[in-house]
Each structure stands twice: as structure tokens, then as C-alpha cells.
Symmetry: C2
Subunit: 207 residues, 2 copies
């Protein structure tokens, strides 16, 4: 069982990388198995099909992120603080899992209905975030407007940064793997979201 586990793991990791880089259709079973130094039939044997492997890879990336986001949303404290922390956490998670933004894109670009497990995850995350925003609006912290639209504004920042990380780094001549750079960009994104959503009191900048 030792070497077989290793094969499953190699297939899984290689598939995650290739699916992220090229998308589902552009990644062949032969691409994956040859790079994983496994046999052509290994995917069918271990995962059932190419499609099942893709779903498994996708869920393994999305699931922990969504649960983390939901946990963050449900913690107490001012809504804007929670949203700031959420952007931070989202950002960090995407930085540690650079393949995930591409999968998110593939999900967004999907036309048909999502797989059931994925749709449920998405619903839960959306509900938590929308609820948090509505609470902030009730408490006078967050600007009025349809909460789902505001939620998109929030989510757009970390995801887009995760996507454009390499591009931004090239342009700004920054090292995207330098923790200091990551922290700086992260704080900037979080601050922009907070300030953009806030109701600015007459006295000046909110805490």
C-alpha cells in the first residue's frame, strides 16, 4: 500500500497543477500520468475517471477555504473588522494555494450548473458573507446598497490579487514570494476594501 499511496498522491498533485494551469479540457489523462510517472490507466483505476479526479482536486482546494471564510464571518465584533480579517485570510490562503484562483475562475466561467457539493459550498460562503454585510449595514458601519453586490466587491479583491499576483509582481518589480511584499499588498487590499465599504463619519477616518 506504500507505493500505491505515493502514486495516488503524485497523480493528485500533478493533476492539481495541470488543471490549474491549463483547465480541464486542455489537460489530458496522458499529460497527468506521464508527469506523475504513473501508468495511463492509473487515473481510471484510482479515481474512477478524469472527471472524478478533477472534482476531487477542486473540492480539496475549495472546501477548507470556504469553511475558514464562514468561520471568520461568524465571529463577533464590528462587521468591518470581520471583513478586513476575511480579506486578509482569503488573501493568505490564496497565496499559499496559488492554484486555487484559477479553479475559482473555472467555476465562475462555468455556464451550466455546478456539481452539487460545490454549489452547496458556494451557497454557504455567500450566505455567510451577505449576512455579515447586512449586519454591518444595520449597525451603521457599512454603506447601504444590495448586500450581494457589495459581497462581490469584497471577494473580487483577494481573488483578483491571487490571479494577478505574478503580473503585479512583474510590473512592480516585486518578489511575489517575499513575505514582506505579500503582507504589504495584503494590508493595502484589506484597507481599500474596508474604506470603500465604510460609511465615513463627518469627523474623519473610522478606526
Amino acid at each position: 500500500m506504500k507505493s500505491s499511496d505515493a502514486t495516488v498522491d503524485r497523480l493528485f498533485l500533478v493533476a492539481r497543477r495541470l488543471f490549474a494551469e491549463r483547465g480541464y479540457a486542455a489537460t489530458s489523462v496522458r499529460d497527468i500520468t506521464s508527469r506523475a510517472k504513473a501508468n495511463l490507466g492509473a487515473i481510471t483505476y484510482h479515481f474512477g475517471s478524469k472527471e472524478a479526479l478533477y472534482q476531487q482536486v477542486l473540492l480539496s482546494l475549495v472546501e477548507p477555504m470556504v469553511t475558514a471564510v464562514i468561520r471568520e464571518c461568524n465571529q463577533p465584533g464590528p462587521a468591518l473588522d470581520r471583513i478586513g480579517a476575511l480579506v486578509t485570510q482569503y488573501y493568505r490562503y490564496l497565496h499559499q494555494n496559488p492554484e486555487l484562483p484559477r479553479f475559482i475562475l473555472q467555476i465562475l466561467a462555468e455556464q451550466g450548473p455546478l456539481p452539487r457539493a460545490l454549489a452547496e459550498l458556494q451557497n454557504r460562503q455567500r450566505g455567510a458573507l451577505v449576512g455579515l454585510i447586512e449586519r454591518g449595514q444595520r449597525e451603521g458601519e457599512i454603506r447601504p446598497g444590495p448586500a450581494p453586490v457589495l459581497a462581490v466587491s469584497v471577494i473580487a479583491q483577494p481573488i483578483f490579487f491571487g490571479l494577478a499576483r505574478r503580473v503585479v509582481a512583474e510590473i512592480g518589480r516585486m518578489d511575489p514570494d517575499d513575505p514582506a511584499v505579500v503582507e504589504a499588498a495584503l494590508r493595502l487590499a484589506s484597507a481599500i476594501v474596508r474604506q470603500g465599504l465604510a460609511i465615513i463619519p463627518q469627523g474623519g477616518i473610522p478606526a
Copy 2:
């Protein structure tokens, strides 16, 4: 030449739709030609290859948007006003061309180097936007920080809204084609970006 032009146009429109929906690899020449009621060889004949057709579709969508953005960036006036107008324009353009966000995603997700024509367009747009942001920073309107990173924050909003338009509409039970809804979401996105980038003076909200 009449009906032949019609064939080229049908191929072009169908290809734009299918490439946007499914991506390049998942769209076959047979998909396109059959839906366009054209012969299987029509793409090779009129465009040279599937790849050439894709590039042509892509450029036809990106080019007018980039030139519009650059024109907006170079107009005079307070930088924040220009950025607000830019987000508005971007948003409207994406709304009128719902396929474009998907192509932008495909570009972003691309690993290898972009086609030359596309890379040049991207460079010009980026340069114009970064220049505008840096001007706003010099004039004390826009918060400090690396301009390329701020530029990503700006661009992320309209693109992500264009992507998530249908999703947002479903959640918020809004009609994404209702001009009033579009205008409202547009103003909200523009206001969030402006406020998020601004340096909030002690007196309250800037004009």
C-alpha cells in the same frame, strides 16, 4: 461576396460566444461550424486556423476597450474623478460585451507569454492606469502605496462584476439586463473604488 461575408460573420459571432462559454480547448471547430451553419472547412478557409480565429475574436473585443480606457486615463481633471469614470466606462463596456470578462480570465489564467498584439495592448492600458494613479498620489488625492497594486484593485471591480453578473443577479433577485439595475450596481462599484482609494480628509467625505 454577400453570402460569404455572412458566413464569416456567423463564424465569428458563434466562435466568440463558444470560446467565451467553454474556453479555447473545449470548443471544437465542428461545434462552431455546425452552429454557424457553415461547412467544416470554413474556419480553415476564412481564418487560416482555429487558433487564428481565436486570436482575431480576442483582439476584436479587447482592442476597443483598451483604447477607451487609455483615452479616459489621459483626460484632464482630478485623478479620482477619472478613475471613477473609468470604472463606469469599463463596467458599461463589459455589460455590453458579456463575453469579454471570460476572455480576460482566459488571458489572466494563461501561463505562457501572451500573443504580441495582446501584450502590447495590455502594457499600454496598464501604463495609462498606473500613470493616472501616480498622478493622483502626487496631488494628494490617492492613498500611498505601489501604484501597480492599486491599479489591480481598480480593475478588479468591473471585471469581477462582469463575471459575477449573473450570479449576483440570481442571489439578489435582480434582472441583470434592467438598465436601472445596471446603473445602480455601476454607481455602487464606482463609489466603492473611489472611496477606497481616496485619502479621507479630516473634514469628512471628499467630493
